[in-house]
């Protein structure tokens, strides 16, 4: 009696497999194979074209430790990740809370304005910020001058201590709106009754945010956080390439841009792949850390 049902299930399994097959094949060919290749290539010295490939074991990795430029790129990446993540997430949460909880006039207009940067191409953003940061007639220095704050005028993209933060601001501007909208949708599904009850108990807006809103969208926050850290690694690369080219003198180099330079400009393909492995491990580790650090019992309403 069990047989027909079993047969039916097996048939189902085949059908599911067939449906998954194209995606699976593509995933293996374009994700798994190249990733394994990156790991394999990191043990070789190879320029990328010649048949002349030499196995060097872990030499590429030991070299990395002595490479000042790599260390600086690593530091820059970590600094960007920490600052940009904290600022973007903090501001996105704050803005989302205001927009859902406070009855703001023209709320959808604000939402629209804040969301626009997420649809712009990064090259456009780089161009916008290059214009903003222009040391002579850019908006920022121009405003400072108009306010007679000439002393605060900066060479935003030419100062080695400032350039990384200039890039960071562009990154925050780009991603803020997207995450704000995500959190807004999470927050708007929280039942109004919770807020009403807490308001009757005399809770302030700030108290409500930390006692109700934040715990209830915690799962939402966790997922986006991991996602954001990963996309920030990529975004920093594209922005740095378009805005500063890693300069002046390597001061805004990030891991991916340094990897690109080594693999494609310095003909050290194997070395570039070793940097790729480090990025892979680093991203993996960060995701793990984020997910560990934010683990909590999910709250429900």
């Amino acid at each position: 009696m069990a047989r027909p049902a079993e047969r039916g299930r097996r048939g189902n399994g085949l059908f599911v497999l067939a449906c998954l097959l194209p995606a699976l094949v593509l995933f293996v060919v374009f994700m798994i194979v190249p990733t394994v290749n990156v790991f394999r290539m990191s043990f070789y010295t190879w320029s990328g074209f010649s048949p002349d490939m030499r196995f060097v074991g872990l030499e590429n990795f030991t070299r990395l430790l002595d490479d000042e430029q790599f260390v600086r790129a690593f530091q820059n990446t970590v600094a960007l990740l920490v600052v940009v993540t904290v600022v973007t997430m903090g501001m996105a949460l704050f803005l989302a809370a205001i927009m859902t909880r406070q009855k703001l006039r023209g709320r959808s207009l604000y939402r629209f304005i804040l969301y626009v940067p997420s649809v712009l191409s990064v090259v456009v953003i780089a161009a916008v910020f290059s214009a903003l940061y222009d040391q002579e007639n850019g908006l920022i220095n121009g405003t400072l001058q108009a306010l007679s704050l000439d002393g605060l005028r900066q060479i935003w993209l030419g100062d080695q201590q400032l350039v990384l933060w200039s890039v960071a601001i562009a990154m925050v501007w780009q991603s803020l709106g997207y995450y704000m909208v995500l959190y807004m949708s999470g927050m708007s599904s929280i039942p109004e009754s919770l807020y009403e009850a807490s308001a009757l108990d005399g809770a302030s807006a700030g108290r409500q945010f930390f006692a109700i809103t934040l715990p209830l969208i915690w799962q939402n926050l966790r997922t986006t956080l991991t996602f954001f850290v990963m996309s920030a690694v990529n975004l920093s690369f594209v922005l740095v390439r378009a805005m500063t080219g890693g300069g002046p003198d390597g001061s805004s180099e990030v891991l991916l841009s340094y990897m690109y330079k080594q693999a494609y400009t310095n003909s050290s393909y194997g070395y570039g792949m070793a940097i790729g492995v480090v990025i892979f491990a680093f991203s993996f580790l960060v995701s793990l850390l984020v997910s560990r650090a934010t683990r909590r019992e999910p709250l429900q309403f």
Binding site: L21, S47, G48, S130, Q135, L157, Q160, P248, T265
Partner: protein, 441 residues
């Protein structure tokens, strides 16, 4: 029903896979026509001249079908195919590009020996290619990268690079173009009083032409070659120190906006400061005229080009000559047809078409076919005290994390902003040079 679905998805998957795998290699097995694939960089000279030259070639060689691939970032387009073993037959692309494709292939010994092309007769003419070329344009590290007497890259266009300035401003102020470094610094002081800076660069990478000439000016051709071939401790010599001293002093006169604009996005703003009479000199090449042709400029503006000032009065001066090249990858399919095509590029017929777009080939007597403004630039070679300098750093096996050009040029940004000292610069150069020397031997 189910089975057909499975079949359908399997077919889809297969289709996707084969679509990625199948891409014509360009060989027409069926017809007798040779397909010659030519890849070229679309530089300041535009793309029309290539289509015209190819048309003229095809008219004479009906059995050859030339397929042109041309783009402003040609490296990005041909590299993936080359990695998969599909090489273009002829590539027109110089050294010193950011992607460094030519350099990479040189490092890999992946170029075809083109010495036979020099001995071959130009198609339809009596003279050989070698006879037509101007003296000294082949046989240097640029064309013969391994120093073994074999030519691997053929010089295609050549152009002087040096310090560009506004002739109009000098005439108006009655200033003389400085012939020595002392005069240059004196002019820097004078200009400062008028609120004009002495020096700027578009990006630090443009210092290549500046540094190569300076090294030769300071220590002569042998010293220049020593530096380019990473002779041991060459950066600790007094000549190297003098070159860095002069540069450090010059960078003190740099326009305050230089570093902030010295990136891919804003470099034209540094170039604009010459047109606006805010800065006197910048290192650049003759392409600057075309690049800035639509930019606003000061009244009476006229481009001028001068070699670097001499280190000692009356001393020899070198002018770095940028040579773009054409080469054939070892992996090319139609090498013979490729070589014949390269030889044709030096024919009078082709040269005339190129010259119309201001692409000047190193062919004897070419100057007569140039426009007036362009001809003025090429006059620097007629000064008896000025010698052309071709080439750059010798290629070695790649050294992970070491890019001596970046160390030499990009550090200028840090010198201007005060983030690094001249001593640190010298030490970093010495270190990079030593690592490359060991990789080269």
């Amino acid at each position: 029903m189910r089975r057909s679905l499975i079949l359908a998805s399997a077919v889809t998957a297969l289709g996707l896979l084969t679509a990625c795998g199948a891409d014509g290699g360009g060989s027409d097995a069926g017809s007798s026509k040779t397909t010659l694939s030519v890849a070229a960089l679309e530089g300041g000279y535009g793309r029309d001249m290539y289509t015209q030259v190819i048309q003229a070639y095809e008219a004479k060689h009906p059995d050859v079908d030339v397929q042109l691939q041309i783009s402003k970032s040609i490296e990005d387009e041909i590299t993936p195919n080359m990695k998969a073993g599909r090489f273009p037959d002829v590539v027109v692309l110089g050294q010193g590009r950011k992607a460094a494709l030519t350099e990479t292939l040189i490092k890999d010994k992946a170029l075809e020996d083109l010495t036979p092309v020099l001995q071959a007769k130009v198609p339809g003419e009596d003279r050989t290619v070698g006879d037509k070329l101007i003296d000294g344009i082949v046989g240097n590290l640029n064309t013969n990268p391994y120093g073994d007497g074999k030519t691997y890259t053929m010089p295609m266009y050549y152009a002087p690079t040096g310090l560009f300035y506004n002739k109009g401003l000098f005439d108006k102020k009655g200033w003389k173009v400085p012939a020595t470094w002392d005069e240059l610094f004196a002019l820097g002081e004078t200009a400062k009083k008028d609120g004009i800076s002495l020096f700027t660069y578009p990006t630090a990478g443009y210092l290549d032409s500046y540094f190569f000439a300076l090294l030769a000016d300071v220590g002569g051709e042998q010293f220049y070659t020593d530096v380019m071939t990473y002779k041991q401790n060459v950066w600790q010599t007094p000549q190297a120190r003098q070159a860095l001293d002069l540069t450090t002093k010059l960078l003190k006169y740099a326009a305050p906006t230089t570093v902030g604009y010295a990136n891919e996005q804003d470099f034209t703003k540094n170039q604009q400061s010459i047109l606006d009479n805010k800065t006197l000199f910048m290192p650049n090449g003759t392409w600057i005229v075309g690049e800035m042709k639509d930019a606003p400029r000061a009244d009476g503006f006229a481009w001028g080009l001068t070699p670097l000032p001499a280190v000692t009065a009356g001393g020899k001066r070198y002018i770095t000559t940028s040579v773009e090249s054409v080469w054939v990858p070892s992996g090319a399919k139609n090498k013979d047809a490729a070589k014949e095509f390269v030889a044709y590029l030096y024919s009078d017929e082709a040269a005339k078409i190129f010259a119309k777009s201001n692409a000047v080939q190193p062919i004897q007597g070419i100057a007569s076919s140039l426009t007036e403004e362009n001809a003025a630039f090429y006059q620097v070679y007629e000064d008896a005290s000025v010698t052309a300098l071709v080439g750059g750093f010798a290629s070695t096996a790649p050294v992970e994390g070491v890019d001596i050009k970046a160390t030499l040029f990009d550090t200028a940004n840090s010198i201007i902003s005060g983030d690094k000292t001249e001593d640190q610069w010298q030490a970093a150069l010495n270190d990079a040079s030593e690592k490359l020397r060991q990789a080269g031997s």
